[in-house]
Symmetry: C2
Subunit: 244 residues, 2 copies
Amino acid sequence: MRRTKAEAEETREAILEAAERIFLENGVNQSTLMQIAECAGVTRGAIYFHFKDKADIYKSIVDRIRFPQEDLIEQAQSGEQVDPLDLLLEAGISCLQTFVEDERQQRVFTIIHQRCEYVGELSEVLDRLREVNTRVHQLFVRLLQTCKRRKMLSPDWTPEDAARALIASMSGLLNEWVRTDKAFDLVDVGTKSTRALIASFRRNADISIAACGTSPDALLSAGMHAKTKEVTNHGRKARAKLES
Amino acid sequence: MRRTKAEAEETREAILEAAERIFLENGVNQSTLMQIAECAGVTRGAIYFHFKDKADIYKSIVDRIRFPQEDLIEQAQSGEQVDPLDLLLEAGISCLQTFVEDERQQRVFTIIHQRCEYVGELSEVLDRLREVNTRVHQLFVRLLQTCKRRKMLSPDWTPEDAARALIASMSGLLNEWVRTDKAFDLVDVGTKSTRALIASFRRNADISIAACGTSPDALLSAGMHAKTKEVTNHGRKARAKLES
DNA sequence: ATAGAAACATACATGAATGTTTGTAAATAG
DNA sequence: CTATTTACAAACATTCATGTATGTTTCTAT
């Protein structure tokens, strides 16, 4: 019953696919290798040939997806010359956009946040998540520090706190969206929330009256007048530019 | 070895206390009744006397704490005559405040959100959480609808979306705070974030320049000039009024 | 062509957690 | 005062997931 190398890779993928389904249904710890094998149409032996144990399967699942935050990092590192706050807004929005479109990302996100107790071997997965998160945080802090140097950051916010707030807002939105079973328009609500937050980051924008003297260009670049559609398209264009 | 009724209640509490610790360390499903018994200084027999099974213990733990959202509901229902948006801001802030002060709330929150796979019996706990959340959401929607009737709500936001955004922001803040092991000042960052969000809810406040003509009173009531300390004290006062 | 190894299936051994049953000492009701 | 029930402890039986060991077939390299 030996298969060719390509077929073997197929069964490996089938196992990962099955594990994703079973994990989502039963939780990582409660899922048994037997269930996964059954769902994949193989025996437990096949699983033990391809993977060391259940934790290994889970790590493989998490490793093969791209996190929404990683898209965000790549995108945010592209244009350093533009307004960092605009860049944050666009990156955040297109991050939400890709998340909405990628069902696998959503499934794995749900597993990670609602279907796993991180203990023992499993906590290694958490370590990777933490690492990605700190990278995002540091990136945000760097961007916000340049804002501060350019006197564009509101005195209310430190770069660190602003970064925390942004990350909390984004992760809160993603979590609520999956928890409520997509009960609202993630991109729409997320765009408005993020825009509100970033608006408060701007010097002289946190207190409404102080913005009167600024030029129309400054207001436009603040993204306050742009309609949702235009902004998301803008974000998409930026991403398309990256992929080329 | 029969104990008096009061002593029995003590051991019951000891079991719950121990379970809280063990669940936090090992996750609900990974924790064994033996570990809990050992930690509580009893045998498994005692646990099976007081509780049906592990799910029963977990439900008891969740039932005996007050959720941050429940504080929020009570508080937000007190004064209907004031500006609903101010009320939302104050309620949110004092909700964060009590969460920071209540270590048990934090522990159980961590268990709920990071140490449990909700499957089978355990999902009943999730049902209760969902119910609390929908109550909060409906309350928010009601408040925001009165805003809309009074022409105080920005045309950018529907009451539903604004409620979602607020809930997502709050839960995101709480989650990030416990996930990062209290790496930032929750009340401080939370106050600024929430204030920014609610500011964007206000009609003529979402676009900075439009607020120029409004009276100083309107700006003050928008909470944009108040320092953090004053607002939190305000929130506390409101809570103290409730307890009397 | 054939030796070896790859890609599994099957069978077994182990341990660990659960639920249940039985035992028992002390409190409490009558 | 004693009869019964309470509040556990201790022992037992059962299930069940895991890991490993072994078997089998087919690919593949030489």
